[in-house]
């Protein structure tokens, strides 16, 4: 090869499903080549005579193509460049496009001269179990020496390090019949079902549907098989209920007819067009499925069977017949089945010299090809095949020069999807392979995937399966007329292993597992299939051993003296082919990882310069910095002081809100909450505490009685969904007899806290004149519906989280932004200040109010000082277990207030509390700081905490030990209410 576009020396003059009018330039390892539209990267490289495509995983042996399809173990390349660079891409499934860039893997410094090929001579070091044995000692060597060495020496390509520039998406599909694979069986099934009007989804991995019909020189009804396939595809395209998805791989079979599939939407282009995904992950729900996934051909086990130029016979035929690319000029065919003769004939027809057909059986040969009864015991060559050593049945040994060895050890059904529910493949002695065993419900298998290895049998099986599915669904269906197929012969006597080989005999090409590795595993006691797999790593590479598994089991069976059937298979798990993490994530990346919720007044908060923080899915204003405030602390201090001295407004719309109605609403509340509700009058609100049935605190909030049988419940922001679901459970499962209805109205109402000594004045300015807001008419804990001056309907609650004279005003969400602006305008003369979550938090800690940090799911009502709220006159959720001695034990960590002894000291939530003078170890742990904030009102840091026997220890000094922040602070234990302990401000 010289530089510049080559002349495709191995391209046949005619034929193939390629478009010679569309030449495509591409680069491999920096050299420019030309292929055609319709090529894969692999077929274009074959046409250009490139045989050496990579170095192997452990031994850095030169490797070329083994297959022509998705099962390829060797030809893994890095595709594209920069942030789009993708390692371990199988050249056999990469559809060629103009400008394609690919590079070989695992070579250093170059593919032809690879320094680490010395690993080949270190074979014993890299034998089975080497990870477990060789590098165990000394430990320091592992990190510094062995691990980097192995990473460099035994790797599979380089990942891109930049963010993935492409998009991915997820999609859903539903159908009567899912047909997996568009080979002869799949096309026949889809035609039968589609003509009967079933909703059919036909999925094929390839960009050209047809499967082996595209790869063989068979005639169907006297026409090339590929033409029959094209006609079938055209007819399917005309059927309204049939959808054909190309470039799509079904990767997993899940319960109840659900399948996962990966569609490579734009992988056949240099980059996806704007706003289009690169790949799409499908979740498909079907009522029936016909699995027509075909089969994988098996390599034969002889010495140095991994040399570039040794290929599977079916792949050689695919390259010649579908891609008009000749894998070698002087070929030997080695097969233990009748397809050896087919391969020889196809190669002769393509213009190759077929110098020998080697077959251990006495079987017919091909015209004009020397037939040798015997085996190839060794491939000969350095960077590529130069010849083979043949051991004939008569004992003679011959060497024959060749540049291509087409081998076939028979076919193994691609049955992975049949086993994803735990079904074990069953051994078929006649075919010498495993066939699908117990199938997932709704699945049928047809064609080569079920051992129907002739086209004629595959077509018929596809029709049968579709008819069965149609009948089960109650559709009348007629069998489609099947074409006549030119004579086929699939006689086979498995050879499994060549005796007396020389050189390394590979079973798993991708993981470099040889026959000797399996023998070693067996000698060391790893005799079970699963153990051998893990010890040798056979079948554990990215190809999951599609070409290797059965050969490995056969070798293990022979060494352990068992049958292959008794040896059994290993477990198949999804995905069938590697799936990029990006495809699994879909659009859930970065900012879109989860939905973002904004309150009705978000735009107003943005205008106010809010710094936002995430609380669950919500984006909430944390604080509102003003010019001249260097840190958040100055902003929060200003917001707290302004609220405590004048009035502040805070958006509390994210609270959960549940509208509860019905004659039994009060009884329902009685059973949900620890405290009583029978005395709550219409127009009044009350604090409520809810437990889980195990006696731990679940949530808190207020309940306002809006009418005789109507209540409005609030929950914490975090538990809004959980409390609603809990109420549904209580009503539907526990007490369906209670006549109540309830609905979440969290999103329907925007709600604002108006807090501070001038709160009433502010509200007076926005509420319609007819409403009396005096302390007598609308006292602390009053609740009611009223009108604002602009006629907006509002609910007003005189409740306080900050400890100030305060209200929460709720308005329909659509009016939220308007009303908050109205509040700010009306409050301007009063010095109104918007405040955020930090100020809210500081004020509630000043008041000793518990919040999420204290409602941790591990605290009881007693722990939090709510013991007296627990009603003894009624049953409620959690009542019985909350009374357990251990949950009311005064020795439990219980709520206290905490203040630094050195008033300038700072401490933080999470710090552990220990006695003074005690070593801060786990055994000395007496509790922890749950919340901490700088108190603008007191001028120092304060906190809440859970301290063993806390309420009995007010006045004592403890140490807050905070190894994470490197702090140790002496604290005074005290009552949790720091500001206005008598609650006088609330009631003015």
């Amino acid at each position: 090869m010289s530089g510049g576009a080559s002349t495709q020396p191995r391209r046949l003059a005619s034929g193939g499903a390629i478009d010679r009018s569309q030449p495509l330039e591409f680069r491999f390892d920096g050299r420019t080549y030309t292929g055609y539209a319709g090529d894969t990267l692999a077929s274009a490289l074959v046409a250009n005579g490139v045989r050496l495509l990579g170095r192997s995983f452990k031994y850095h042996r030169p490797r070329g193509l083994l297959c022509a399809g998705p099962e390829e173990p060797n030809a893994l390349v890095e595709l594209r460049d920069g942030a789009r660079r993708e390692p371990n891409t199988r050249a056999t499934v990469v559809e060629l496009f103009g400008g394609l860039e690919a590079a070989s893997q695992n070579r250093w410094p170059s593919l032809a001269f690879d320094v680490l090929a010395v690993n080949r001579w270190l074979g014993p070091v890299f034998a089975a179990g080497f990870y477990y044995k060789t590098f165990m000692w000394p430990a320091a060597f592992w990190e510094r020496l062995y691990e980097p060495l192995i990473r460099r020496a035994a790797g599979l390509g380089r990942i891109a390090t930049g963010p993935d520039p492409d998009g991915y998406e997820k999609s859903y599909a539903f159908c009567d019949l899912l047909v997996i694979g568009a080979g002869p069986a799949g096309l026949a099934a889809a035609l039968t079902a589609g003509r009967a009007g079933l909703r059919v989804l036909l999925i094929d991995e390839d960009f050209l549907p047809g499967g082996r019909l595209n790869a063989e020189r068979q005639l169907l009804d006297g026409r090339p098989a590929r033409e029959w396939a094209a006609a079938a595809v055209a007819e399917l395209g005309s059927l309204p209920s049939v959808r054909l998805m190309r470039r799509t791989t079904v990767v997993g079979c899940y319960d109840h007819g659900v399948y996962g599939a990966l569609e490579r939407v734009h992988d056949h282009r240099p980059a996806p067009p704007p706003f289009e995904p690169r790949q799409r992950l499908w979740r498909i729900a079907c009522r029936h499925c016909v699995l027509a996934s075909g089969a994988y051909e098996r390599p034969l086990l002889f010495g140095d069977n991994d040399l570039p130029g040794v290929m599977l016979a079916g792949a050689v035929r695919t390259y010649a017949n579908r891609f008009a690319a000749l894998a070698g000029r002087r070929a030997v065919v080695f097969a233990d089945n009748d397809e050896g003769a087919v391969t020889a004939a196809d190669l002769v027809a393509a213009g190759a010299d077929v110098v020998a057909l080697v077959d251990p059986r006495t079987a017919p040969g091909a015209t004009g090809v020397e037939r040798i009864a015997g085996v190839v015991r060794r491939a000969i060559g350095g960077q590529g095949l130069r010849g083979v050593e043949i051991l004939a049945a008569d004992g003679s040994v011959r060497r024959i020069a060749c540049d291509l060895l087409a081998m076939s050890g028979g076919w193994s059904p691609a049955l992975q999807l049949t086993a994803h529910h735990g079904g074990r493949p069953r051994w078929d002695d006649r075919l010498g392979t495993f066939l699908p065993g117990t199938l997932p419900a709704g699945m049928m298998v047809a064609g080569a995937a079920n051992g129907d290895f002739t086209t004629e049998a595959a077509l018929a099986a596809g029709v049968r399966a579709a008819l069965a599915a149609a009948a089960a669904l109650g559709h009348a269906a007629a069998p489609v007329a099947l074409p006549s197929v030119s004579p086929e012969s699939v006689g086979h006597r498995p050879l499994w292993e060549v005796a007396g080989t020389r050189g390394k005999c590979f079973v798993d090409f991708q993981h470099d597992v040889a026959v000797t590795d399996i023998e070693l595993a067996e000698r060391e006691g790893y005799r079970a299939a699963e153990h051998m797999k893990r010890y040798t790593t056979l079948g554990m590479a990215t190809d999951q051993g599609k070409t290797a598994s059965l050969n490995g089991l056969a070798v293990l069976a022979a060494r352990t003296g068992r049958s292959i059937a008794a040896t059994g298979t290993t477990t198949f798990r999804p995905p069938v082919v590697p799936v990029a993490i990006g495809a699994l994530a879909g659009t859930h990346r970065g900012r879109d990882f989860r939905p973002l919720r904004l309150t009705a007044a978000h735009a107003w908060a943005v205008e106010q310069g809010a710094i936002f923080m995430e609380t669950g899915p919500w984006l909430r204003a944390q604080y509102f910095p003003r010019p001249g405030e260097p840190t958040w602390l100055e902003s929060v201090t200003r917001e707290v002081n302004a609220t405590r001295q004048a009035v502040g407004v805070c958006d509390v719309s994210t609270l959960g809100k549940i509208d509860l109605q019905g004659p039994d609403a009060c009884e329902f509340l009685e059973r949900l909450y620890v405290n009583g509700w029978r005395t709550l009058a219409v127009g009044r609100a009350r604090y409520g505490l809810m437990l889980r049935e195990d006696g731990m605190v679940m949530d808190d909030g207020t309940v306002s009685r809006l009418g005789e049988h109507r209540y409005l419940i609030t929950t914490t922001t975090a538990n809004a969904v959980a409390v609603f679901q809990h109420m549904q459970w209580c009503h539907q499962v526990l007490w369906p007899g209670l006549d109540v209805q309830f609905v979440s109205v969290s999103d329907q109402w925007a709600q604002y806290s108006v807090a501070g000594p001038r709160a009433r004045e502010l509200l007076r300015a926005v509420v319609a004149a007819e409403h009396d807001l005096s302390n007598e008419a609308f006292p602390y804990m009053a609740a009611g519906t009223l009108r604002l001056r602009d006629d907006t309907v509002a609910r007003l609650f005189r409740i306080s989280f900050s400890g100030e004279h305060a209200y929460e005003i709720a308005v329909p969400a659509r009016a939220g932004e308007r009303v908050v602006r109205m509040l700010m305008a009306a409050g301007a003369p009063l010095g109104v200040t918007p405040y955020g979550l930090e100020a809210l938090g500081a004020m509630r800690i000043e008041k000793g109010h518990v919040a999420g940090n204290e409602l941790s799911g591990q605290t009881t009502a007693h722990d939090l000082g709510f013991g007296k709220m627990l009603s003894t006159k009624k049953d409620y959720i959690g009542a019985v277990l909350a009374r357990r001695a251990a949950l009311t034990d005064p020795d439990r960590p219980r709520l206290v207030g905490l203040a630094p002894v050195g008033r300038g000291d700072r401490f933080g939530a999470g710090a552990h509390l220990v006695r003074r003078g005690v070593e801060p170890v786990a055994a000395a742990d007496e509790g922890y700081v749950t919340s901490a904030a700088f108190s603008p009102t007191l001028g120092h840091w304060i906190g809440l905490g859970l301290l063993r026997r806390g309420p009995e220890r007010h006045g004592e000094r403890v140490v807050a030990f905070d190894p994470l922040r490197g702090r140790r602070t002496e604290l005074e234990v005290r009552d949790p209410v720091f500001v206005d302990p008598a609650g006088e401000r609330l009631r003015v």
Binding site: Y254, D255, H256, G257, V258, R283, A285, H421, A441, E693, D694, Q725, Q728, W729, Q732, V733, L734, W735, P736, G737, D875, A879, V880, L881, R883, R884
Partner: protein
Amino acid sequence: MRIPCPHCGLRGHEEFAYLGDATLRRPDPAAPDAERAFAEYAYRRDNPAGRHRELWYHAQGCGTWLVVERDTLTHEIGRVTEAREQGGS
């Protein structure tokens, strides 16, 4: 998995929230051994291999708590009914 909701039809399991054993009954809080009975009710669960009656909540659908008969070995779904039909605790 796909679960046939009596209201919404056959829906993907991702729309549902799972709770567990549907055969449990909330004990009588006034019974002399109420604490022991509630401890059993709150904490003890069998882990049957085979047919099981389970509570599933159609969170992303109609909001109904359902009793789903499911085989824990095969995921085969049997009868699906509304939990309220059981008549409560």
